[in-house]
């Protein structure tokens, strides 16, 4: 699995659409081009919402550690895994020339 630099800046891939029914505890990410969809948990959805094409991952991680009750070491590990998963599934992409240098939730891929 490729390593992700915490100084990197990521944005959502162009065909990605996020949706949540918070009251029902349901979170999804959709690819409107390929039709694939992923069911997320609240934490991984929260991370995706922070991926805005401007904020380096290390800053997203700092917000993540503040927002969720998780220790720094475990939090960083989980955060990294989730981000790598998003990169591998092409849900997020690294912004060219945007490196400044910077995890929980597992995405479960499911077809509709």
């Amino acid at each position: 699995m490729l390593e992700v630099s915490m100084n990197s800046v990521f944005s959502l891939s162009s065909d990605i659409f996020l949706y949540q029914l918070k009251e029902l505890g349901k979170y999804w990410v959709f690819n409107v081009d390929t039709g694939e969809h992923y069911t997320l948990n609240e934490t991984s959805f929260w991370i995706l919402e922070q991926i805005d094409g401007m904020t380096p991952l290390k800053e997203v991680l700092a917000r993540f550690l503040k927002a969720f009750d998780v220790g720094a070491a475990k939090g960083k590990k989980d955060f990294s895994e989730v981000v790598k998963g998003f990169v591998n599934e092409s849900i997020i992409k690294k912004r060219r020339g945007k490196t400044c240098q910077t995890k929980k939730g597992k995405s479960t891929k499911s077809r509709y």
Binding site: E23, L24, V32, D33, G35, Y112
Partner: protein
């Protein structure tokens, strides 16, 4: 014909109601269309393009497609209808399709051609009552006899035939005679649909059943469904669950936003034909995009959005009310189903 096509479970299926034309030779008083010009109707190559789009989408979703091809009157444009049906017949992800017709054009050559289709399941025609008087008052003079003749020809040709009846104050007392007639004619399936005042039917608003009238009609249909063996009576509609919430064959969640889309003659997509809110166009938009991003669909899926008595109902997982009825009466598709008697 029907026996060769196994039933699908709801979670295996995605349903398209496809109105390939608005043109029609009848002008039924309760019709949900208001315009029959069929402006911007898709050409055959566009219909084929849409069918291929449906096929690819179903493959990605790992679903089997079921379709109702209708109009208007679909046999008015036979030059497009038959090539489309044969194309649909060739697509692996399509499980079966039905044709919803008024029966006017069901002659022997037409039926012979339909027999060549492997995935064609059944013909659905409409009758509004067991007598010429009741039916023709809504569907036009002579239509009762024509429809009955069409049913007889279809049955003679061993077609599976379904009959739809739209329930209003005018025919609410005619359920039992109607089912008796259909049994005598060898009709396979009967379904009753609530009348929703839209399109031409907006002028018939006074014919909508009250909550108590609907309860009586649905109770009678439910009772007949349990006792009649010769004809299958479909109860897959919202509100039937009020009659027996423990029987999975009684009642069904409205399919809008769940596993169905309606395609209009010009490619416009609706959540349901009776809920005519455009949510995209199948030629310009991917079905994925519409299905995943439509606010209307998401608002319907989020049951916490439902209002009035629907909001706190313990039958939400089985019913959710008819969003189209809510929309037709109040302009708000999230408001309560005004015909619910709970």
């Amino acid at each position: 014909m029907m026996d060769q096509l196994k039933e699908l479970k709801p979670d295996e299926e995605f349903y398209f109601q496809w109105h390939i034309t608005e043109k029609c030779n009848l002008r039924c008083k309760h019709c949900y269309h208001e315009n029959y010009s069929s402006a911007n109707e898709l050409a055959l190559d566009q219909l084929v393009e849409v069918a291929d789009k449906i096929e690819n989408t179903l493959k990605t979703w790992d679903k089997k497609g079921t379709l109702s091809v209708t109009g208007g009157e679909p046999f008015v444009i036979q030059e497009k209808l038959f090539p489309l049906l044969f194309h649909l017949d060739s697509l692996p992800a399509i499980h079966h399709f039905d044709i919803l017709t008024n029966g006017s054009f069901s002659n022997q050559p037409v039926l012979d051609k339909l027999k060549e289709l492997k995935k064609f399941r059944r013909m659905q025609v409409s009758l509004e009552g067991s007598s010429q008087r009741l039916n023709d008052a809504v569907r036009g003079e002579g239509s009762f006899e024509k429809t009955l003749n069409a049913i007889r020809l279809m049955k003679k040709n061993d077609f599976c035939v379904a009959v739809m009846m739209t329930i209003t104050k005018l025919n609410k007392h005619d359920i039992r005679p109607m089912i008796s007639l259909l049994q005598d004619e060898g009709v396979d399936t009967f379904a009753a649909e609530r009348f929703i005042p839209e399109g031409r039917g907006a002028d018939l608003e006074e014919a909508i059943l009250s909550t108590n009238e609907l309860k009586d009609v649905f109770s009678e249909i439910h009772s007949l469904a349990l006792s009649q063996k010769k004809i299958r009576i479909l109860l897959y509609r919202p509100l039937y669950a009020l009659l027996d919430g423990n029987d999975p064959t009684v009642g069904a969640m409205c399919s809008a936003g769940t596993n169905a889309l309606t395609i209009m003659h010009d490619g416009t997509l609706y959540p349901c034909r009776r809920l005519p809110i455009p949510i995209g166009n199948v030629l310009q938009d991917s079905l994925y995009k519409v299905w995943y991003t439509s606010d209307v669909l998401w608002n319907i899926r989020n049951t916490k959005n439902l209002k009035g008595k629907c909001s706190a109902c313990d039958l939400i997982p089985q019913c959710r009310g008819c969003r189209a009825m809510a929309y037709a009466i109040t302009g708000d598709y999230l408001s309560e189903d005004c015909q619910c008697w709970k």
